[in-house]
């Protein structure tokens, strides 16, 4: 049985997004506020099977690898 659960978070904007570096002016600084050693905030999200997936459901059961991928589906 897999000990590590991989969750792919597939993200793509529904609106035309700016080519990141060139056109973006004054990008709001976004550094992840979380750090190693912090408790991961719980979340509930819909899977591709339309089932709710809750991070806390894996507490004590599996390690979780959360991959946030932007525009993976669109090739952007």
């Amino acid at each position: 049985m897999k000990r590590v659960l991989i969750l792919g978070l597939l993200l793509a904007a529904v609106i035309a997004a700016p080519p990141l570096a060139r056109q973006a002016q004054n990008p709001h600084v976004a550094k992840m506020s979380l750090k190693v050693g912090d408790a991961a905030p719980d979340f509930t999200l819909l899977s591709d099977q339309w089932k709710t997936v809750k991070l806390s459901d894996y507490r004590g059961k599996k390690n979780v690898f959360l991959a946030v991928y932007v525009l993976a589906f669109t090739g952007g």
Binding site: L10, R59, L66, V68
Partner: protein, 90 residues
Amino acid sequence: MDSPAANAAFAKQIGVTFPLLSDMNRRMLKSYGILKGYDVQNETYEWALRANIVIDKQGIIQLIDEGDSAVDPNSALTVCTTLHKKSTAK
């Protein structure tokens, strides 16, 4: 952000064996601080950073790679392997 339907099509296309999740209302992205805003021609667009995050069984974050460093998953996989070895050694 991609819908569950779009994710389902993608999952079928590439044959993934793990859940692909949608954050349609961006709540999770905001709570993790992954959402980034860009101002372009007086409009603000929100965009998620690429990130790899490893969370152990206790719910504690063991690794964060974000931006360019998240393109290479090897450091995350190394942490996963270490966690797995620890749990099987018990």
